[in-house]
Subunit: 519 residues, 2 copies
């Protein structure tokens, strides 16, 4: 069945109520029942939650073949928790496990052998980077993988599309009752936003920490009232990789031009006024936009009302200097952010559900004026791909891209017109639709920008912007002239991953690349 | 059927799985499914939550005959919200409504005519003070009333024993998306702890405020992601009565002796060591204990780890002076507390579920060393009544009494041996069992104390305490010698209220007093 962005979704995946993508807001006012999680209440004051090791916790939670476990990715490339837990599960002889993670990456290469041995047979994640992405593209996972945005994952959990049997939530600090915090330990990550929906809806919740602190560990990101067990391990992560790798403050001149162009665009749109709200994605050019904001704000004599989403040092600096009213933080990319949250006045933690869940009663992304996002490639319908590389291999992550694009009044996507390797960023048709074009307003490159024809108001407003305006087809033609029309990537029939839109519908499928060779 | 504290519970109430009280920890490790609330997700960024008035919100929420609405009592005797909303419901011709409040009191006299006219046919509350209590005792409510502790109410809501169709939550400030806070307005109440469980499990949630502030109103006690609508009214309460009435800093010499005796007892028990945890109830003598703490702490060279529950100025002072590590606040009794929360370092808000729900995975009360509680009367089994007066009329509130008594390692109940009017506080049998004797450790009077024989360890430890130790029967005899044996209160057969223990079992029933005359 063909969906709203023209992708053919095989019928085999359209069962048990699963539907194809029908438009970004087709499920607005969706009526559903939140998950009834199976809970064990503790009223005995002598009950102890601390267990000696992960295996004891896995057994205490009654984990069995075929169940689903979940993880957050606040430790990013420095994460030890996912592999530790899955290794313990494997050693206990439990198999056929679905791993529902917020993201998986290079820290999780060790999961590939567990996929091959049948311990892990299902995966739901935003990011599928590194060897995991390759293994999935290579068809090594028994079941089809689910790629979900951050908001989409929260919605899937809250609505029961994914039922989590046991959540294993890494925490830089915890007390013996499970009050968990992202600060105060040896592997700090700042907020624990991604884990809250797991804590709220999983049947069983285990906090995994390397730093046990006195009760009460507050302000707790995960409350003791949602935690069954606490396990203390030697180390939950590599602190050098927790807060440093995903984010890079680009010095690449072309990326800086992109960022500067995006900032210039912003300045000429009607939302650029006192109190506006703002988010950037996690890519280099997107993050760099923040660095161009201060002179613009000073010149206009305005300040930002609030920012949402991932947090970086330039934002903290703007907050401290009075240019931002509040930072609503759901992820800390660098040490400055990790240290600041809960401490700098105006720097608040929000959960991923509050940030982006399209099925809650109103997420923060709904209140965004601007979001600055990256793209692997974009097509002439403004559909964006952030998942598959040119070789067709899964390597990216929708993250909050999809959610913020839907929520924001002005969604700006930026990419160099032609990438290294002489590949056009603009195509007739993106390899994998992650974010539908109806939620993308402006595409910015180093040579100029294109506005989605749906937004005639922005075209009008941007007439005063000195940057060159193109049609999206114009940018495509320019790119093709420079780099040639990209060759079609060849795929086998086998579907290795379903790309869910944030409302749980299928927006695209990822197939196994043909003649794919493991790098 | 007779329950564990010897009360006969009529069979007519033991249906649909309802059970009699079987002991304070009989439902420890209770396995249940949390409520699946019916939710309407909002992904359209143009959706507006602000409605022009309460009637518009009531209609938008689809409130119908026979449904349940809920309220919190953070505005105490100054509350306007409950009556405003119920009046609007009445004017819309909706009837047969169950009111599930955290407490009802003198601010809610206007509900009595709505009980008489059939608009309100059911009530669940902790407190039933003032005219409401009298009207219920007089049999004016169509259905039997439910009296629940704060923790018991949270458990009843989370487990679905009470299903809330629409929660109307008063908030001193809110933004237009429903981020609600107890500070920053003209009717501040500090925390909004009682309302969180409603926001989490009600199908529909309406914030009622008199002070609309810019988005985002943070740190939000109730998150926008849980709120359907926002209504702005002229005034949500009388600020003079919000933070002043329930709490009184006693100057009554006998109450001060009680408090001093309780403090002395505390000093001689084994939990009085560095880092101990502490709660007081909301009555005069209980609150006054805090005033005797400082010299004891100084002398012993120790500090309090954390306090839980209701908050008062003496606690804030101790926090600021370094005698308390953290205040975990679920209710603010005075202006000093209202202003302090979220601002004084170490002063944190917790929800009522976190505070006391016996069905969550571990509430704060489970971690208490001491709780200092009041009593209307106590019996020789250490059962405590805080609900019915000597005339049998409902006038009190279990509040967190039951919850803290169950959780605390050392539960101290205090009362004058003989009350004004020459009534003994100790009886063979309390009128209404609120808190079972198995959760009460020490009873303190102005003449001495009695220790529950279950606690031989405390009897041993208190041998060094200079206060006179009695048996509970000894205290009863002393009181009877002074005031005579109290006459039995006469009742009709009609049951007007069920007293639920915190685990949802029935610990006692309240009958209609015989020859009862409306005062």
């Amino acid at each position: 069945m063909k969906n709203k962005v023209g992708r053919e979704i095989p019928d085999e995946f359209l069962k048990e109520g699963k539907q194809v993508f029908q438009g970004a807001f087709a499920f607005d006012k969706n009526v559903y029942y939140k998950v009834a999680s199976k809970t064990v209440g503790v009223s005995d004051p002598n009950h102890t939650k601390v267990l000696p090791d992960l295996k004891a916790a896995i057994m205490a939670c009654g984990l069995k073949d075929g169940m689903t476990v979940s993880f957050h990715h606040h430790f990013r490339d420095g994460d030890y928790v996912v592999c530790m837990v899955m290794q313990a599960i494997a050693e206990l002889g439990i198999k056929d496990i679905m791993v529902c993670a917020t993201s998986l990456g290079t820290a999780h290469d060790a999961l590939v052998p567990l996929m091959e041995s049948g311990v892990i047979t299902g995966i739901s994640s935003s990011g599928l980077r590194g060897k995991i992405g390759k293994a999935i593209s290579d068809g090594k996972l028994k079941n089809v993988a689910y790629i979900r945005s951050h908001g989409g994952r929260a919605a899937a959990i809250a609505s029961g599309a994914v039922h989590i049997d046991v959540a294993f939530l890494g925490a830089p600090t915890s007390d013996d009752y499970g009050n968990a915090l992202g600060q105060g330990g040896i592997s700090d990550c700042g907020v624990l936003s991604y884990g809250e929906v797991d804590a709220r809806y999983a049947d069983r919740v285990v906090i995994v920490t390397d730093t046990l602190v006195p009760f009460p560990n507050v302000p707790a990101s995960i409350s003791c009232s949602d935690v069954d067990y606490v396990v203390v391990v030697d180390k939950i992560g590599d602190s050098e990789k927790i807060a440093n790798h995903t984010m890079r403050m680009t010095e690449n001149p072309r990326e800086l031009i992109l960022a500067e162009n995006a900032a210039l665009i912003m300045k000429h749109t009607p939302y650029f006024k006192d109190g506006f709200s703002f988010q950037t994605g996690g890519g280099g050019p997107s993050l760099a936009v923040t660095r161009f904001l201060r002179p613009m704000l000073e010149e206009a004599g305005i300040k930002i009302g609030f920012t949402v989403g991932g947090c970086t040092k330039p934002m903290i600096d703007l907050l401290k200097e009075g240019f931002i009213g509040a930072i609503m933080d759901s992820q800390d990319f660098d040490f400055a952010s990790v240290e600041s949250v809960h401490k700098t006045p105006g720097h608040f933690e929000i959960t991923t559900s509050e940030y982006a869940d399209p099925f809650n009663k109103g997420a923060y992304v709904n209140r965004l004026d601007y979001v600055m996002l990256g793209a692997l490639d974009i097509d002439i319908d403004f559909n964006v791909n952030v998942i598959t590389g040119v070789d067709g291999v899964v390597r990216g992550a929708p993250g909050g891209h999809v959610d913020a694009a839907a929520g924001s009044k002005c969604t700006v996507v930026m990419a160099p017109l032609v990438r290294k390797g002489r590949l056009s960023s603009v195509r007739d048709r993106v390899l994998t639709v992650t974010t539908p074009g109806e939620t993308v307003d402006i595409f910015v490159t180093e040579v100029g920008y294109a506005v989605n024809p749906r937004r005639q108001d922005l075209i009008e407003a941007l007439k005063k912007c000195p940057l060159k305006r193109y049609t999206i087809e114009g940018l495509r033609d320019e790119a093709y002239a420079l780099a040639g029309k990209p060759e079609d990537t060849k795929f086998e029939d086998k579907v290795v991953a379903l790309v869910e839109y944030r409302d749980g519908t299928i927006i695209d499928v990822v197939r196994k690349p043909a003649k794919y060779v493991l790098a």
